[in-house]
Amino acid sequence: MITGISIENFKGVRDRIHLGLRPITLLFGANSAGKSTVTDALNFFESVLTAGSATFRDLTAAENGDARNELSFERLVHNHDLSQVMRLGVECELTQGDRNVSVNSMEDTASSSDWGGPTSYEISLPDEFRSISIEFEISSILDGRDHATSRTGFLRGFTVSYNDEPMVHVVDRRQKHGHLNGYEWTADLNHPLLSEIDQSGEIQFSNIHHRIIADDHDPPLKDGFYQAFSEQEEIPSDPAATFLNAFVLKAFRTLKLRLSQRRTIGGIRDIPHRDSIPMPCNTSMRWSNGLAAWDYLAHCDRRSLDKVNYWLGSERLGARYQLKQRVLVDFQDCVDHVRAFEQHEDPARMQSHFELQHRSERRIGLVPEYDQFHDESPFLHPSEVGTGLSQIIPVIVACIHPDPCFSSIAQPDLHLHPRLQSELGDLFIHSFNTDQRNRFLLETHSEHLILRILRRIRETHAGTVREELKIATDDLAIYYISQDKGFTQIQMIEADVRGEFIQPWPDDFFELDFYERFG
């Protein structure tokens, strides 16, 4: 999972900040304080990582076909100052499945085996290496006199770290010298991972400084560095360089995978149109406006639907409605297939029966909880129930979805009654605590949500809460985001085992109720 993000010179953030992300990370702050900056930074980082593009397209806008929200480097760099270097870093934990690193090398035929073919190394990263991270340096293109010549962002370098210790720093020499000369890297030979391999005696890392690995490479900007490190790239002949290349590639691919697995749910979730047909696959764009949740619900199995209904039901959120799937098929098709079944006379028709499901249209709707088992109960379109319900369903689906992932959700409490906001706290705890181990980055204004989580911390310490609702202080990170003279400031606030804040809460957020009561 993604475990950290660092931001510098991005939107309202000027000075470097680092946010450690825990199973539940809450971003609090006033409107326009900069809470969304964190999610935007993740999106922008992914955009650079996957496409080499220093342009960020707002996911919600993209789903709606609105290309105007494509944000350029100039719009995203702090203060729109093109002379600034933007730095964005993302860290993720290494799972057991991430530990194998394949190293493929074309050895020098003059000094190697008779056949001179490729040699493969397969190494497994030691357990003590728990995280990897990449930090991008993005700037506008500078000419030799350091004048901005483009409003477009350019990936001018990056640093790959293992266990939070920088291992390889790569720069594009075009930036340094104003002409095309390829990429250049510097490795920290004291890095524990390199030291370990170095000490094995098989690979010598003594001459690795300033090795150029992509001479005369002139990709268009959008191809950037990622292409340089893609599998199609020419493989360096030096075994040490090959190892470094493999570690860099490992970091790129692992982070790319992690970021592709995350879900970003925007602050306003759409309600599917009455005539829209649920799509069979979820895309990140459809998650951003919540429609992917409805797609999933229309096609999911009974068990998953039951999970969502459990959270909607009277025991938890008390939404008074339950979700129900309906399969719409053509009437004449049905008649034909029933006949085919009865007569057992037409194998072709039997075959087509099994395709019926495929050709049918699936619908998801809601039925009143008190009437859910009645065939004649009204099947309501999501637009026919309260707005809060339609807004919360994508959040619940993100929590119970069988694919564990990192979900960043803006205003999960949107349009919810305070009591339901409290229950949301349990939903998130339950989600990461059960088999899925989901993680959440939540932008919220909800006092009730955080108070429930703090209560569960207290109860966990006292041993008075069920296993699936246990949460330790280290599972929660709270960041208070504020604006000070145009700069976004971020302060971490920790909770103790009594469910109380260790640092004073910066504003009167938790005292508003008191002062309203006694005002």
């Binding site: 911390i457 085992v497 109380e500 640092q503 004073p504 910066p506 109720d513 008191f514 002062y515």
Partner: protein, 341 residues
């Protein structure tokens, strides 16, 4: 400045008031004075009998029949719990309001409580006259709040200044004295705080100390180390009980603060300092000061406490501090630290 309050459960009972309106008005007045919106709360609340009083009052509040009064009482009690400090039990388990009143008096005799607030009938039943005891209706009068506030103008007299800090010094698990001259010509003030804070009755733990001073460019580091050793020895002589003392030297700074708090822990059982109170001071009493001169002190607001925490107390701020080991008189090694310039 910071004043300790003890309420008896009767304050939250209907029978103590003429009408629900009088009761509501009293609760509103208490809330406004105890928890002003414009600054830090100047009160702490005694949680007598090792933290048993306030849960008892909570039970009482839940029984209030009038919804509006219960709403107010519940809100006030929640705020009171946020400023609570525990006191050890003195007598048998208190069963009645009078028992709680007697318990508060017994605790008060051990370590003074600024205001003991009870019902008139309970006070009369107790047949005790003490200037710290007030019937709850007196909380509507200005004289009740005299001396309780966010600011104070003490004389440059050590005893008077210690009296202002006494509540904080009594209930803190740790105390940090931040004063550029704490190991130089204002070390008498540090000694006075140490003496006050460590003179505690049984049931009150001795606090840990952090002393933050300025590494004056006039002196070599070795001289500062010598000063720090002298200070530490002089503090140790005051009492046989020796608390943990850490001394830190920083580059030039001007602030004078005494901040204090409690220890708490995370799930991974990491002991953490939780900052609760702080006083910023223009000047502090020195041996040769004119006693009729006054100075100004202020209780610190949340942002001020956060500033002090990040500047002097946080692990990040101490990352670049170089350690100096100071051997103590008992042979153990104490750690002092010096900010690297």
């Amino acid at each position: 400045m910071l004043t300790e309050f003890a309420f008896t459960p009767g304050v939250f009972e209907r029978e103590s008031y003429e009408s629900d309106k009088v009761w509501s008005d009293t609760l509103r007045a208490l809330a406004a004075e105890m928890f002003p919106r414009t600054g830090p709360s100047p009160v702490v609340a005694s949680d007598l009998f090792s933290g048993s009083l306030l849960p008892e009052i909570r039970k009482q509040v839940r029984r209030i029949e009038n919804d509006n009064v219960r709403f107010l009482a519940d809100g006030l009690l929640t705020k009171i719990q946020q400023v609570a400090v525990q006191r050890p039990g003195m007598r048998n388990w208190p069963e009645s309001d009078l028992d709680w009143f007697q318990e508060s008096l017994a605790s008060h005799r051990d370590e003074p409580i600024g205001r003991i607030v009870s019902t008139r009938s309970t006070i009369e039943s107790g047949e005790i006259s003490d200037p710290s005891v007030y019937p709850v209706e007196d909380t509507n009068e200005d004289k009740f709040w005299n001396g309780i506030g966010m600011s104070s103008s003490p004389h440059l007299i050590a005893d008077e200044q210690m009296n202002l800090l006494r509540t904080m010094l009594l209930h803190a698990d740790w105390i940090a004295i931040i004063n550029p001259y704490s190991v130089d010509n204002e070390r008498a003030f540090v000694r006075a705080i140490y003496a006050n804070a460590t003179t505690r009755k049984p049931g009150y733990d001795v606090p840990d100390f952090e002393i933050h001073g300025q590494l004056d460019g006039r002196f070599e580091a070795s001289s500062q180390q010598s000063n720090a050793e002298d200070l530490k020895k002089s503090l140790a002589i005051i009492h046989s009980i020796e608390s943990n003392i850490s001394i830190f030297f920083w580059p030039k700074f001007l602030d004078r603060y005494v901040v204090a708090g409690t220890y708490t822990s995370t799930s991974s059982e990491v002991k953490r300092k939780k900052i609760r109170w702080g006083v910023s001071m223009s000047h502090v009493a020195r041996d040769n000061d004119q006693p009729d001169v006054r100075t100004s002190w202020h209780l610190m607001q949340k942002d001020g406490l956060r500033h002090v925490e990040s500047k002097f107390l946080s692990a990040e701020s101490r990352e670049s501090i170089q350690s100096i080991e100071i051997g103590s008189s008992d042979g153990s090694v104490r750690r002092a630290q010096r900010k690297v310039f």
